[in-house]
Amino acid sequence: MPTLLAPSLSPPAAARRRAAWPWVATVLRIGLGVVAIAAGASKIGDIPASVRAVRAYELLPEPLVVAAGSALPFVEIVLGALLVTGLLTRWAALGFGLLLVAFAVGIASAWARGLAIDCGCFGGGGAIDPDQTQYLVDLLRDVALIAVAAVLVRHPRSRLSLDSALDLEPVRKELN
């Protein structure tokens, strides 16, 4: 089919992209949600470890360390559940995106200060041997996830979502 329509490829191709987008968004949304749930689930069984992981960054004052470390796994799981089910997609993607930005800042700062810590992204955390740090890998993964979150904030409309079932999707401009 595409070859037959070759002369006027551009408008139908754009239309096809528009039609395919909600499915692409669905994959991105569920993928991001699964990552968030995996990150939260790996920490929630050992909250003291999560607190220690946050403390190891030496960025937050002690009362905030305990608050952030104990709340983080729960918040990640809730945001992940929202993304997987497609409820409040835009806001969940924004929330998790901001969290990821905070993580990236923390990792970059730990790297810049020469700390030897495990990022604690999926459990664990704390001081490790200096040759075992993997800041670059952690940061690249973070940046990729931030990009996915940003795309979902901009275009949250997707298939198989509670947002569409509950009629919560943002109204399309052209319909207004």
Binding site: V51, V66, G69, S70, A127, L166
Partner: protein
């Protein structure tokens, strides 16, 4: 006239349809807003309530001073000090200017075992001569590497139990635990195996039997009649005191040993660091 009337009727019909469309659009908008309000309220309540609950639960964890059952003679930083007599919790006989050498280790940590192999003898000699007080800090940060058996927590709890019930065999028990260290990623030693290590170290049978039967763990990590709460609070205190808690960490009179300057894997370096700390 007829044409006029028809167009009037048409116009009326069109106006009616337009009104209906506006009404439907308004209802749709109202429904969307109502759904959004409900969803936001529910999600918001879950987030705020759950987050608050997690934070409160964690910040209510007791600190060491609040723990009822602590190993005899242990410090409020979570250390079990040993002096010249080699008895857990007893430091009498050490020199007045003895350096307190605190060793934070997890029984599952391979580098901690390496540290013991390389420096154990030196530290024992310095301790026996009263030049240092050796402070054991069993911390539990590697529970996730024992396939769910929480070997780090069990072994640290066993160490605290031995320090209390068989203080004279404590040092030998810790040495034997490192000598029999399981590999990371395995279930670690069972309670029966830990009991065998205790027997090997000369721990009396009645104490070893309580390890073998898992009685030393009581009904769980927060059973106040066991050393579980002490072990958890001690690890938490170690994390607060050290900032970045990794194992092994060595402090000399509370100062973290600078491993760039003093590479303890080399013979004599740790002794030198201790001498320098004594000044």
């Amino acid at each position: 006239m007829a044409e006029d009337r028809l167009s009037k009727a048409q116009r009326r019909e069109e106006a009616r349809l337009a009104a209906q469309r506006i009404k439907e659009e308004q209802e749709r908008k109202a429904r969307r807003q109502r759904n959004l309000a409900i969803v936001l309220a529910v999600v918001g309540a879950i987030l705020v309530g759950g987050t608050a609950w997690m934070i409160i639960a964690e910040s209510r964890q007791p600190v060491l001073a609040d723990i009822e059952l602590r190993p005899e003679g242990s410090t409020l930083s979570g250390g079990i000090p040993v002096g010249p007599d080699g008895v857990a919790g007893v430091t009498e006989g050490a020199a007045d200017d003895a350096v307190t050498v605190a060793v934070y280790s997890d029984f599952m940590c391979p580098i901690c075992s390496q540290f013991e192999q390389i420096n154990g003898e030196t530290l024992a000699e310095l301790r026996e001569s009263g030049d240092i007080v050796l402070e054991y800090h069993p911390v539990t940060i590697l529970d996730r590497t024992s396939q769910g058996t929480a070997f780090s927590t069990r072994s640290a709890t066993a160490a605290a139990f031995v320090a209390s019930e068989a203080p004279e065999e404590f040092v030998a028990f810790v040495d034997a635990m490192f000598a029999n260290q399981p590999e990371e990623g395995t279930p670690g030693l069972s309670d029966a195996e830990i009991a065998d290590v205790a027997r090997e170290a000369g721990v009396p049978e009645d104490v070893a039997a309580q390890i073998e039967s898992s009685a030393y763990l009581g009904s769980g990590a927060d059973d106040p009649e066991t050393f579980g709460p002490w072990v958890n609070a001690a690890t938490s205190q170690a994390s607060k005191d050290l900032g970045r808690l990794g194992t092994p960490t060595i402090t000399l009179d509370g100062e973290k040993l600078d491993v760039e300057k003093y590479n303890w894997t080399e013979e004599g370096v740790l002794a030198q660091a201790i001498e320098d700390a004594r000044g």
